[in-house]
C-alpha cells in the first residue's frame, strides 16, 4: 500500500490544525490592536503591553503564580520520580493497586472535585489558606502527571546497566543516582516542565485553595474575562503563549538535532 496522503487526509489535517490554531493566532494578532474593540482593527500598537506592565495587580498575580509553579513543580517532580520508580521497578508490592489508582485517578478527575476536597482538608486541619495551600494542592495533582511521564521513560530503560553496577559492589541508591537518573534526566526535565505549566494554567484548584494575597494569574484572567474582554488580557495571554511555545519548540529542535547527530 502506498503511504501517500489522500485528499481526505490532507483535508483532515488542514481542518483539524486550523481549528486548533485559528483562535490562538487571532488572539495574538488582536493583542496588537490599537482599538479597544475586539473586532475593529485600529492599527498596530503595543499600548496594551505597556499598560500591562503598569498593572500592579496583574504583575503581582504573575509573580505569585510563578513562585507557586516553581515550588510545586519541584515537589511534584521529586515525588513523581519516586512514584515512577515504585511503579516500574517494585513489582507487586502491598497496596500497589491502590497506589497506581491514586496516580492515575487525578489525571482524569474533574478539577472541581479535587479543589473542593483539598479545601475541606485545609479547613479541617485549621490551616489558613494562601500561598502554601495552593502550592501543596498543585504538587499533589501534578506529581501524578510527572510520575506518568517519568514512568514511560524508566520502563524503556535497560536495567542491566544498573544491575551490573550493583554486582560490582555499588550500593543500589548510588547506582540509581549514578546511572539511572542521568539516563532518565530528559523525562525528569519534561516532567518538571509539564508540572510547571499545569500549575501556571490552573484556575479551578487555585480558586478553591487560595486565600487573600495569593490570587494567581488565571484567577485574575478569569475575573477580568467575566467582567468583559480586556485588551490587557490579550497581551498577557500572548506573552504566556510565546513563552510556552518558545520552550516547547526549543526542546523539539534540540531533540531533532540530537537525533540527527546520533
Amino acid at each position: 500500500m502506498k503511504r501517500g496522503l489522500t485528499t481526505f487526509n490532507i483535508a483532515s489535517l488542514v481542518i483539524g490544525f486550523g481549528f486548533l490554531y485559528l483562535p490562538i493566532v487571532l488572539l495574538v494578532i488582536y493583542s496588537f490592536n490599537a482599538s479597544r474593540l475586539v473586532t475593529v482593527w485600529g492599527g498596530f500598537s503595543t499600548k496594551w503591553y505597556a499598560s500591562l506592565f503598569r498593572n500592579e495587580q496583574l504583575l503581582d498575580a504573575i509573580w505569585v503564580t510563578f513562585r507557586i509553579g516553581l515550588i510545586s513543580a519541584t515537589i511534584a517532580t521529586v515525588l513523581g520520580t519516586f512514584a515512577a520508580v515504585a511503579l516500574v521497578r517494585a513489582g507487586r508490592f502491598r497496596g500497589r493497586t491502590l497506589f497506581s489508582g491514586m496516580i492515575f485517578a487525578p489525571l482524569v478527575m474533574p478539577e472541581v472535585i479535587l479543589g473542593l476536597s483539598l479545601l475541606l482538608l485545609f479547613v479541617s486541619l485549621g490551616l489558613p489558606r494562601g500561598f502554601w495551600t495552593v502550592t501543596v494542592s498543585h504538587a499533589t495533582v501534578t506529581m501524578c502527571y510527572a510520575a506518568v511521564v517519568i514512568q514511560a521513560r524508566l520502563s524503556a530503560f535497560d536495567r542491566q546497566l544498573e544491575e551490573a553496577a550493583q554486582d560490582l559492589g555499588c550500593p543500589p541508591i548510588k547506582a540509581f543516582f549514578a546511572i539511572t537518573l542521568p539516563n532518565i534526566a530528559p523525562a525528569v526535565a519534561a516532567a518538571w516542565m509539564l508540572a510547571f505549566t499545569l500549575s501556571l494554567d490552573d484556575l479551578v484548584i487555585a480558586s478553591f485553595t487560595s486565600g487573600p494575597g495569593s490570587t494567581t494569574l488565571p484567577m485574575r484572567i478569569y475575573s477580568q474575562v467575566r467582567l468583559g474582554v480586556s485588551p490587557e488580557i490579550n497581551a498577557v495571554s500572548t506573552l504566556l503563549i510565546g513563552l510556552v511555545a518558545t520552550g516547547v519548540i526549543a526542546v523539539y529542535l534540540f531533540q531533532m538535532r540530537k537525533r540527527r547527530e546520533a
Partner: protein, 299 residues
C-alpha cells in the same frame, strides 16, 4: 535479588503518604460533609467533628448526620437537569471528538516520519498553552459582535448567536479536548504494521474494507483511551460551561462551584461532588485498568 526488590517498594512510601493525605483522605471529608447540615457559621456547616469529646462526642457527631442533603438533591429539578445535561454534553462531545479526531490522527500517522514529528509537536503545543486562555480566545470569535459574525457579514450572511448557547459549549469542549483525543489515537495508529494492509489488499480487500476490518479494530484500544480521557473530565467541566454557556446552562461542575462560592452551601456542593464521583467511578476504573495494561505491555 529478592531483598533488592523489597527495598525498591520503599520508593512508593513518600508519594503514597502524600497522596493518601492530600488525595484519598479529603474524599472522606467530602463524604462526611455531604451528610452534614448547612449553618450560618465559619466554616458554614454543622455538626463539626470535635475530637476533644472522645467516644461520646463521636457518637453525637454520627447521630447528627443524615441524608437530608441528598434528599434535597433528588427533589430539586435543577440538580437532576444539571446531572443529565452533564452526561449529555460529555457523551455527545466525545462522539464529535471521535469523528474529528480519528481522521486527523489517521492522517498524521500516514505522514512521512519527519512531518509526523512536526505535526505531533503541533498537536502537543496547545496542550501546553493555558486552557483558560484558549477558551477565552474562543469568546472573541463566538460573541455576537465577534470575529465569526464579522466574517459572516462580509459574505452577506446573517449574524449567528452562538455564545451563551449549548452550541458554544459543544464547540468549546471539542476545541479544548481535541489533543486529548488525537494523541492516544495517534499512538495506536502510528504503531500499526502497514504490511497488514498490504496483505488485506492482496487478498482482495478494497482500501475502505481493509480500513474497516483491519485498521479500525486494531485501533480500538486507542479509541477507548481517547474517549475515556475526554469523557471523564468533561462531565465535571467548569470553565467551558461557565464562560461559554452563559447562565442558563447547567452542568455539575458549575453547580458545585455555584453552591460553594455563591450560595456558600458546602454540604450541597459536597453531595453533588459525591454524586459526580460515584458516576465517574466506573469509567475511571476502566481508564486506570487500561493504562496499567498499556504500562505492562510497554515494559
Amino acid at each position: 535479588m529478592k531483598a533488592r526488590r523489597d527495598r525498591t517498594g520503599l520508593a512508593a512510601l513518600a508519594p503514597f503518604l502524600w497522596l493518601g493525605l492530600f488525595f484519598l483522605f479529603p474524599f472522606l471529608l467530602v463524604a462526611k460533609l455531604s451528610l452534614s447540615d448547612t449553618a450560618l457559621a465559619i466554616p458554614p456547616y454543622t455538626p463539626r467533628l470535635d475530637w476533644s469529646g472522645g467516644i461520646a462526642g463521636l457518637k453525637t457527631f454520627f447521630a447528627a448526620l443524615d441524608f437530608e442533603t441528598y434528599a434535597r438533591l433528588t427533589s430539586d429539578r435543577l440538580y437532576i437537569v444539571a446531572y443529565l445535561s452533564s452526561l449529555k454534553f460529555a457523551a455527545i462531545s466525545t462522539g464529535i471528538l471521535l469523528l474529528i479526531g480519528y481522521p486527523l490522527a489517521y492522517a498524521m500517522a500516514r505522514c512521512a516520519p519527519a512531518a509526523r514529528q512536526a505535526l505531533l509537536m503541533a498537536m502537543i503545543l496547545p496542550f501546553w498553552t493555558s486552557f483558560l486562555i484558549r477558551v477565552y480566545a474562543l469568546i472573541g470569535i463566538l460573541k455576537p459582535e465577534g470575529l465569526l459574525n464579522t466574517a459572516l457579514r462580509a459574505v452577506g450572511l446573517g449574524p449567528l448567536n452562538i455564545l451563551n448557547t449549548e452550541t458554544a459549549i459543544y464547540i468549546g469542549l471539542v476545541y479544548a479536548y481535541l489533543p486529548f483525543m488525537v494523541l492516544p489515537l495517534y499512538a495506536v495508529l502510528e504503531r500499526q504494521q502497514h504490511d497488514l494492509l498490504e496483505a488485506a489488499a492482496d487478498l482482495g480487500c478494497t482500501p475502505f474494507e481493509a480500513f474497516w476490518r483491519v485498521t479500525f479494530p486494531l485501533s480500538l484500544p486507542g479509541v477507548a483511551a481517547g474517549a475515556l480521557l475526554c469523557f471523564i473530565p468533561m462531565v465535571g467541566e467548569f470553565v467551558i460551561p461557565d464562560l461559554l454557556g452563559g447562565s442558563s446552562t447547567l452542568m455539575l461542575g458549575k453547580t458545585i462551584w455555584t453552591e460553594f462560592f455563591a450560595n456558600r452551601d458546602w454540604p450541597a456542593a459536597s453531595a453533588v461532588a459525591i454524586v459526580l464521583l460515584f458516576t465517574l467511578v466506573v469509567p475511571i476504573v476502566l481508564y486506570q485498568r487500561q493504562q496499567a495494561k498499556l504500562m505492562e505491555a510497554g515494559r
